[in-house]
Symmetry: C2
Subunit: 185 residues, 2 copies
DNA sequence: AATAAATAGATGTATATACACGTAAAAATA
DNA sequence: TATTTTTACGTGTATATACATCTATTTATT
């Protein structure tokens, strides 16, 4: 074997053994084996782990691409949606953080950007001066309403499964997250 | 309603209607309703979308926490694992990118960090000088072997489902990703 | 009441993501 | 062969993630 420079991994451009595609627009592939170019999984459980991660990425990517039309990121959209859930009540940063899908999201910083775009307003709570309360602006509501219609449509269109299958999927995912370790300390 | 300062969203610290918890160590909650503090979903399909995103975040977070012990991020681990799949063959950046779970990962930059830690080596392919070929070092192999044992154990421990259930889950996730839109252009 | 502990949220840092663009090299075409 | 197109991949930017730390408050304890 050649040490310096190596043998390389020569192949036809834009192709692999599963066919022709482009890495960066690679959200159309259905089979996990094709998506991550791997056919040998230790077990169905191990494969399920990868499948969950890949499906989440796929879903998030498609929705994010659509949200660009509204100048929103997926996370910014999520914050607006949470605020709408309580509207016209205001919410403090902590309450928003609790409702985020990705719990480690840095909500103050996401709100920074929403505030710059004048989609929300920040003010200090009169009751607890530590709290920052966030209010949706009219602009925020408009953008949210328009984008929500789109996101709901896309989700229904993308997730091409029946309500029954979806119910079953939900059961399995809850089961997946149920382990002895999952006890709130 | 008070405009300036607002009404606030007063509540007992560290509590919500579902019980006591901490947002930042909030990876122990099982029920989606509890996790994102929402009980009303438009449909099972809409709920499945959120469930997939939340479960992926949950899985990724737990594995990432464990990988910290080895000084690796989830993405760096993924790159090492992909390289191991071909070892002792080398791989070019594009081939690694194709196999990533998250296709939009910026592989050159992940490799930057692996190279700094001397877990991989970069060199230019002799066959195609555009290509950078990546080689696992002995250090990379050692860390990967140790961390793989851990990740596999954690995955099996966390994903507390039977092989049969996992198989069914895999089928449903493939079904989820199968839409008319999913045709390679 | 005085002090200690806990909480809310802003902020700093390293890494990753998403995307655009530049450069060098290879492949395709004229 | 000369020119154009495509490809590989490095790099720049804005945003997000993951985590730690700091300050101002509030709550709990003494």
């Amino acid at each position: 074997m050649i040490a310096q420079g190596g043998v390389g991994t020569h192949h036809r451009p834009g192709e692999n053994k599963f066919g022709k595609f482009n890495v960066y627009t690679y959200i159309c592939v259905v089979k996990l084996e094709q998506a991550i170019q791997s056919t040998k999984f230790k077990s169905e459980v191990q494969k399920a782990g990868l499948n969950i991660l890949y499906t989440a990425w796929w879903l998030k990517t498609v929705i994010s691409k659509e949200l660009k039309e509204f100048g929103l990121t997926h996370e910014q959209y999520n914050v607006l949606r949470i605020l709408k859930g309580k509207y016209p009540e205001q919410m403090c940063v902590r309450d928003i953080a609790c409702r985020m899908i990705e719990k480690s999201s840095n909500v103050p910083r996401i709100i920074d950007r929403l505030e710059l775009k004048k989609l929300v307003k920040r003010s200090t709570s009169a009751i607890d001066k530590r709290e920052t309360v966030i209010t949706l602006t009219q602009g925020g509501i408009s953008i949210l309403d328009a984008s929500t219609v789109m996101v709901n449509n896309i989700t229904d269109e993308m997730l091409a499964i029946t309500e029954k299958d979806a119910g079953h999927l939900n059961q399995l995912l809850e089961k997946v997250r149920t382990t002895e370790k999952n006890i709130v300390p």
